[in-house]
Symmetry: C2
């Protein structure tokens, strides 16, 4: 089986490529490298002992994408390609509608031409908006995402549902990620954000390694036990395994299947900070500052449906998430840059 992985050089993409290779799939990656480096895939190939085929292609470039489908006999697509910085999405929303929504539309057009109708899609818990209760189940109503990034994820979900309803040959898995963190246990691949990290863990890691002065904790007055926001952090290798589990259900199935990929456990910002201090062996300076607009108090998954239907469960602990992040960060203080 050959799997096309869009955005495969990125953080979650590269970890998923590794799991796919280890499971015996052939892997073809397209990535425009706007937020990733080809080095990640070299390391994935090294870790797996097998090559990844890589093409520097933007999925909006339909003619280039056609060449990839012509050159390889693709059986299914795992679709990561997309922009993901919440703050940036409020500043340049059209870039997000173009890369994410229009990019997915172009991908589907070429898939259809080549009779490839299995797709695993990187969605996000952001589609729930501010959920009325936690844990969040897949049958909760999708809410109003609080930013353009989130809206593009919801639009894509709806587009895939409309397409599936119109043509029963398609098979879509919508994987709603909670908060991916950590790195491969080898410390050889991990998250390499451009510029100032948008997310908590890479930010903590850069403070811990001395690249940044202190952590800003956005909001200490949420209605939670310690006043900081609660999220469901999931180890990126657990997440990668979730993609594999979803893919295995594909071959004799059709329709749209939605899965929460989370642990089911909520952790506060301060809990994550403490866990990271244990992992790195020293204290990490932080300051509690104002809440960020659009942030919600608490969000964590009910992951039981993915367990029941896919036989998948996240098994890695917060201690492993922080230890693996620290291992990656110390071994690669400048990420994949030389």
């Amino acid at each position: 089986m050959s799997i096309l992985v869009t955005g495969g050089a990125g953080y979650i993409g590269s970890h998923t490529c590794l799991e796919l290779l280890k499971a015996g799939y052939d892997v073809v990656v397209v990535d425009n490298l706007c937020n990733a480096k080809e080095e990640s895939l070299k390391r994935v190939s090294h870790l797996a002992g097998r090559e990844v085929a890589f093409r520097n292609v933007d999925i909006r470039n339909i003619s280039e994408l056609r060449k990839v489908f012509s050159a390889f006999s693709i059986d299914a697509v795992v679709h990561f390609a997309g922009l993901k910085a919440v703050g940036e999405s409020t500043k340049v929303p059209m870039k997000y509608y173009d890369n994410n929504v229009n990019g997915t539309r172009c991908l589907l057009e070429v898939m259809n031409e080549f009779d490839v109708r299995h797709l695993v899609f990187s969605s996000s818990a952001t589609v729930y908006g501010d959920p009325e209760t936690v844990p969040v189940r897949e049958d909760f109503p999708t809410g109003t995402p609080t930013n353009p990034y989130g809206r593009t994820k919801l639009v894509i979900e709806e587009m895939l549902k409309d397409l599936s309803a119109s043509d029963e040959r398609w098979n879509f898995s919508l994987l709603r990620y909670f908060n991916p963190v950590g790195a491969h246990e080898s410390g050889i691949i991990g998250e390499d954000p451009n510029g100032i990290p948008n997310n908590l863990m890479p930010f903590i890691a850069q403070v811990a390694v001395g690249k940044r002065e202190k952590l800003n904790v956005y909001g200490g007055d949420y209605p939670t036990e310690d006043g900081t926001g609660i999220r469901d952090y999931i180890h990126v290798v657990d997440l990668a395994e979730g993609h594999l589990a979803a893919l295995k259900t594909h071959w004799n199935d059709t329709g749209v299947h939605t899965y929460n990929l989370g642990t089911g456990n909520g952790s506060s910002v301060l809990e994550m900070l403490s866990a990271f201090e244990v992992a790195c062996g020293h204290s990490i300076p932080y300051e509690i500052v104002a809440r960020r607009p659009g942030d919600i108090a608490e969000c964590f998954a009910d992951p039981s449906y993915a367990n029941e239907k896919l036989g998948w469960t996240a098994t890695r602990t917060i201690a492993e998430m922080t230890a693996d992040t620290w291992k990656w960060q110390t071994a690669n203080p400048e990420g994949y840059s030389e």
Copy 2:
């Protein structure tokens, strides 16, 4: 002032072009003619006594669109171009996401390049989904549109709001149409649907003129006075005048402004049928059949905000809507075809 009208050869577009010309604007139309004929614009020019500049351009063709913006000094855009058949949208949803959402994205990209940031957008009351109460006000929550066509309208509204929030130079009027019917009082321009009409009035007109055997009335058991669905029918010339009124507010304004364009009066299917029988002078055969999935019982506007802010009110009666439709239909039984 020069106004670019996308989809200007279509039903509402052509009536709006006429009002723009009469008000002294220069008009440039781009239309890919997928659901319209250039003949409509020839007749508009004839009625106005002034020429419309026409280019056969698909708005998704960015390089062709740039040529139009280079050739004319455009001050604002009235954006009708898009597909609108609810039933078709459930069968080929990607065509709708491409033409409507991606088409609008391409248009905005070129407008931005040419520093044109005034846009009047053809939205629809469908963005309210199934409203909890009637009349519907602009501050009602947008609901879940019941079909892909409606979803594309809602996605475009959200995209425009995101763009405006990111860059305050833009100015958008979102015009939420209720149910446009009728034709110009001359009978020279009107609605010329491809194939079987999707909407009530052109269908009634084709039965009345003998082109179709009978009218199917979808659902006689709605919780309404006579059991048939209630809608807010608005004369297309009133609607065209609403575009003009919105445009007049543009020059010193920015942000996103949303207006219901409706009469505020609900009429049932059987009431419209009776009114049409009066207009055409004979009875029209009909049959009550099962409800259509996705149809709602009742929807009509509270148009007071458009009145207050734009000084606009729909003034034409149901009798005028049916009489003008009949005049157009009898004078042009085959629409714009020779």
